[in-house]
Symmetry: C2
Subunit: 259 residues, 2 copies
C-alpha cells in the first residue's frame, strides 16, 4: 500500500489575513501524515505593487508579469509569504522547508506562448522533480511551495498556484497515494455564488458538463476545475475544494471531485 500524502493549496486571499492564516497553519500542522503546502500570494503582491506605483494588469483573472512585477512576486511569494508560513509551521513542530520551482530544480516551466496576450514572465509547467519531493517526504520534511517556477536557464516565472498543486500531486502519484485539497474563501463549489450553504457536494465528469452548460461553473472556477480533473486523470486519488476547515474536520461540507 502506498503512503498517503496530503497536498493542500491555500489561496492568496487567505494568506493576507493573519488570523485566517494562523487558523489554517494550526490545522495544517495537526494534519497527520506526509503533507505538502502550496501557496499563492496574489493580494500581497498587488499591495506591494501599489505601494511602489507599479500597475497591476490582469487578463482573464491572470496577472500580466513584466520584469518589475516578477521581482515583486519573487519578493512576496518566495520571500515574505513563504518564510512567514515556514516559521509559523516550525513553531508548531512541523518540519517545513520553503521552496520555489528553482530550488532543487523542483518545477521546470516554459514561458507561456503569446496567443491573444503576452503574459510576460508566466511559466507553463513542463516537469516536476518527483525524486526531490520524495527525498524530502521520506525524511518527514514538509515542502512549502510558492507559485514560482524556472526554466533551468536562470529565468524565474510566475506560475498559477492551483496548477502547481495539481502538477505536484500528479508527479508524486507514482510513489504516493495523493489527496489534493484546494482551500479558498468559500465552502466549496456553490450552486448560488451568493449562498455559502449551496455547496455542491460532489462533481463528476457528467455533472461537470451539466454545471458548465448551466453556467454555474464559470470564471475563476473554470481553471480550478480543469486542474482538479487533470489531477484525477493522472492517478491522483482524491480531490476536494472547500474552506480551510475541511483539512482537519472530515464532517465539513466541501466539494468532492470524482471522475
Amino acid at each position: 500500500m502506498q503512503e498517503k500524502v496530503s497536498i493542500v493549496k491555500i489561496g492568496g486571499n487567505l494568506i493576507e489575513n493573519e488570523a485566517v492564516l494562523d487558523e489554517f497553519i494550526e490545522g495544517f500542522s495537526k494534519l497527520e501524515g506526509l503533507k505538502i503546502l502550496v501557496h499563492g500570494g496574489g493580494k500581497l503582491a498587488t499591495q506591494l505593487a501599489e505601494k511602489l506605483g507599479i500597475e497591476t494588469k490582469m487578463v482573464d483573472g491572470r496577472r500580466i508579469t513584466d520584469a518589475e512585477t516578477l521581482k515583486i512576486i519573487t519578493k512576496v511569494y518566495g520571500g515574505y509569504a513563504n518564510k512567514t508560513i515556514v516559521a509559523k509551521l516550525q513553531a508548531r513542530n512541523c518540519n517545513a522547508i520553503g521552496l520555489s520551482g528553482a530550488d532543487l530544480n523542483l518545477i521546470r516551466s516554459v514561458k507561456r506562448p503569446v496567443k491573444t496576450h503576452d503574459f510576460g514572465f508566466v511559466g507553463d509547467v513542463e516537469a516536476v522533480n518527483a525524486a526531490a519531493l520524495k527525498l524530502l517526504l521520506d525524511h518527514q520534511i514538509t515542502p512549502v511551495c510558492c507559485a514560482i517556477t524556472h526554466d533551468k536557464e536562470g529565468q524565474l516565472f510566475n506560475t498559477n498556484a492551483d496548477t502547481i498543486a495539481s502538477e505536484i500531486a500528479k508527479a508524486i502519484s507514482k510513489d504516493f497515494e495523493t489527496h489534493l485539497y484546494y482551500c479558498f474563501e468559500k465552502n466549496g463549489v456553490l450552486r448560488d455564488i451568493n449562498d455559502d450553504t449551496s455547496v455542491i457536494e460532489e462533481i463528476d465528469t457528467n455533472s461537470y458538463q451539466k454545471l458548465l452548460e448551466e453556467k454555474i461553473i464559470a470564471d475563476g472556477m473554470l481553471p480550478k476545475l480543469f486542474n482538479c480533473f487533470n489531477a484525477l486523470e493522472h492517478e491522483v486519488a482524491k480531490v476536494y475544494i472547500g474552506s480551510i476547515k475541511m483539512i482537519t474536520d472530515p464532517q465539513t461540507k466541501k466539494t468532492t471531485i470524482t471522475l
Copy 2:
C-alpha cells in the same frame, strides 16, 4: 579523512551588481566538491526601503530592524536575492536549494538583548541544525543560505551574514573539513585601505593584536575578523578573506587567517 566543504559568503555589495553576481555564480558553480553559499543583500534592502519611504537606521554598521524593515529583509534576502541566485546556479547544473534559518529549523536565534541600542528584530545565533545540512550535502545538494534566522516560535530575525557563515562552518566541522571564504569587494584585509594591492597575506593571533593596536583593522573589519577567529577556534580548517576570484584561482592574493 573527512570530506571537504567550501562555505562561501558573498556580501550584499556584490549581489546588487548583476555582472559581478554572474561572475561569482560562474566561479562558485565550478568550485569542485561540496559547498554552501551564504549571502546578504543589504544594499538591495536599502533600495527597496527607500522606494517605500522607510528610513534605514544603522548603528555601528548594523541595521536597526523594525517590523516594516523585517518585512523588506524577508522579501529581499529570502525572496528576490535568494531565488535569483538559486535559479542562476541551477542553470549551471549546481543543484542549489535556497534556505532561511526557519527552513528545516536550520538556524535558531534569540532577539539581541537591548544594551545601548534596541536593534529590533535582530537575532543572535543559538543553534545550527548540522544534521539537516549534512542530509542535503550527502545528496550533493548546495544550500544557499540567506541572512535570516528564526526563534522557532514563529518570529523571523535579521542576522548578520558573516556570522551565519561562521556558525554554519563551526556546526558542520564535526562532520566535514570546512573551508570558509569571506568574499567582498576588496582583495583581502588591506594595510592601506586606499591601496588595493596592500593585501596582508596572513593574519594570525599575534599579528592580529598588532594590527588592532595600529588601527589597521577597524570598523567593519572588526566583526569580520572576530567571526574568522571564532570559526578557527571551533575546528574550522581554513578561513580566507578576499575577492570572488579567490574561490576559483588559488593564485589570487587574499588574506589567510590562522590561529
